[in-house]
């Protein structure tokens, strides 16, 4: 079996000021899976956390859905959203939370043009919640850009937050 080094960093962003979103664009199609690691907070007031949202290919249509598993230290729950205009990239800690959120997203087989895209996410805001999420992007288009946002609305991703995009290539 031939082996080759992979899990390569493609791009990293560290916000120097509050921003509406973080976008990775012109993603090369040369990998098999993508991984995005996020560490940060939002500008939402408070010390809890909110959902963090994601779109791909700038697609604002109702082409996303998701199934969640949640645990908050005392209760567990599961929820589902269908035909929504984004999918959740875990949680994002509010501005006064002592713990930033840490989210890892796996976009499986992102460059193929035959199947819909399945996304696995493992997310934690240590003081609030831990989550696992599976999401679906109902498109056979290859994914060439990914946009992360607090809510695609008025709240922002806080300065100092970081996001790194990795590519994993199969042999």
């Amino acid at each position: 079996m031939a082996a080759g080094a992979t899990y390569e960093p493609i791009a990293t962003t560290t916000l120097s000021s509050n921003q509406n979103d973080i976008t990775f664009s012109s993603i090369p199609s040369t990998y098999t899976d993508l991984v995005i690691v996020f560490n940060g907070k939002s500008t939402n007031a408070g010390s809890s956390s909110n959902g963090m949202r994601c779109r791909v290919n700038s697609d604002t249509g109702s082409n996303y859905s998701q199934t969640n598993l949640n645990g908050n230290g005392s209760t567990t729950s599961s929820s589902r959203d269908t035909s929504i205009t984004y999918f959740e990239f875990g949680e994002i800690a509010q501005t006064d939370n002592t713990a930033p959120s840490q989210n890892i997203m796996h976009i499986m087989n992102y460059a193929n043009t035959t199947t819909f895209k399945t996304i696995l996410c493992r997310a934690d805001t240590a003081t609030v919640v831990t989550k696992a999420i599976v999401s679906l992007y109902r498109s056979t288009n290859a994914i060439t850009s990914v946009t992360l946002s607090r809510d695609f609305g008025t709240n922002q991703i806080k300065a100092g937050s970081t996001a790194t995009l990795y590519g994993i290539a199969a042999a």
Binding site: M1, A3, A5, T6, T67, T118, I119, I168, A170, A171
Partner: protein, 278 residues
């Protein structure tokens, strides 16, 4: 200098090509990737391949298209790269040098093997002769099977061809409205993660990531954990799973199968990776 050389191919007089136009050099793990643009003058006929050469070191790599990755470089050393074209007559002069790039420490995560299911489907896939040079393994799956009438099919993992009841597992499954915890002891495989079947929403495949920890250790039983699931825009599952193979043997092969009578469908994809320790 190689200019001025000509040759005849099927009655045509060919010259060596012009060098390509150098592009941007980008540092990678003990490597530099060099982009370039092929010469468009048509001189010498088709360029068959390209040679990229580092400076310092004169370490070369070949390729048929841009970019070319020059590997085996020293971390922390500043390199430029030049590229030459090759046709049936010979090798062009090298291009001008690229910008400087400094290789970084390489990844400890390596691709070992990949299996993609073809149009006929496949009842199981096996990674065999797995090298023992890593610390952990990871398998990343993108799967669907041909079982009709359901969307809750198990994906089984078998180790070293062991079909006896040496496996156990526990899982937490989320349905979108409730949670289900399961446990299985003395099973013939680790069989917790899920995938959609033939009548599930078209084009949807499950994603599953298996971590197989300390797989060459001969003093411990082997733990296999996974995160997996699929969403059908109205149905589906997300699953955490922990499995055990009660053997102290080093793992050298892994088989994944959906059931003895069913097959993974076309485009199902399995990739095995190794992760090194320091």
């Amino acid at each position: 200098m190689a200019s001025g050389r000509i040759t005849k191919v099927k009655g045509k007089v060919l010259d060596i090509p012009n060098p390509p136009t150098i592009g941007t050099a980008t540092a990678g793990g003990e490597s530099v990737s060099i982009a370039f643009t092929a010469d468009s003058s048509g001189k010498g006929g088709p360029t068959r391949s390209y040679i990229a050469k580092s400076n310092p070191g004169n370490i070369t790599a070949t390729g048929s298209t841009s970019p070319i990755n020059v590997t085996g470089l020293t971390v922390g050393t500043s390199y430029t790269v030049s590229v030459a074209g090759v046709n049936e007559t010979g090798t062009s002069e090298y291009s001008s040098a690229s910008n400087s790039a400094i290789p970084i420490v390489g990844s400890s995560y390596e691709s070992i093997a990949t299996i993609t299911v073809g149009s006929g489907g496949q009842t199981g896939v096996t990674f065999s002769s797995i090298p023992s040079t890593f610390t952990h393994l990871q398998i990343r799956c993108f799967t669907r099977d041909d079982r009709p009438g359901t969307n809750i099919n198990n994906l089984h993992l078998e180790i070293n061809g062991d079909t006896t009841t040496n496996y156990g597992s526990h899982s937490i499954r989320a349905t979108g409205s409730s949670l289900l915890a399961t446990g299985d002891a003395s099973q013939p495989a680790i069989d917790v993660t899920l995938e959609p079947g033939a009548t599930a929403t078209a084009n949807v495949f499950a994603g599953t990531i298996y971590d197989i920890l300390d797989y060459t250790n001969t003093n411990k039983y082997k733990t296999v954990r996974s995160l997996g699931g699929y969403d059908l825009n109205g149905a589906g599952w997300v699953v955490f799973q922990s499995g055990l193979w009660r053997s102290t043997n080093a793992i050298n092969s892994i088989k994944l199968y959906c059931s003895s009578t069913r097959a993974f469908v076309q485009y199902s994809h399995f990739a095995l990776y190794g992760i090194k320790g320091a």
